[in-house]
Symmetry: C2
Subunit: 81 residues, 2 copies
């Protein structure tokens, strides 16, 4: 990872709302300035705690430079484990 | 406006949640590919109807290439006129 880039983590759970948001929003981020990671919490339950610690309450959500943005509503984090 | 760019319109109402989302999310968009416009619906009520037509139900919201993304929750569009 380029150390000069800020981190952007998109958490989702594979739901239609998530996929739709991912395709538009994640695709619009400036990859020159952001190191973008997409995490499927349904498949990678070990990272649910990390998402919760970042303030994620529902998915899809984008954690961008330390700020948590909930984008539309697909599923509650509490339903994912 | 560069005709090759997609449009990205960020609707907000000056609320703290809106300003916070604007600073992080709007700042992260790829300006090389998106023509970004920020609309303050509290000051520009004439555009509330346009936002509603785009499917905006609350602010802040980002309309990106025709898709409407509600980001966190600041205020309901119905409270803005």
């Amino acid at each position: 990872m380029n150390e000069n880039k800020q981190r952007a983590i998109f958490y989702h759970a594979g739901c239609p709302v998530c996929v739709s948001a991912e395709q538009s929003l994640v695709g619009a981020l400036d990859r020159g300035r952001y190191a973008v990671e997409v995490v499927h919490l349904g498949n990678d339950k070990a990272r649910v705690a990390e998402a919760r610690a970042a303030g994620v309450q529902s998915v899809p959500a984008l954690v961008l430079g330390g700020q948590t943005l909930h984008v539309n509503f697909g599923a509650a984090l509490s339903d994912l484990g």
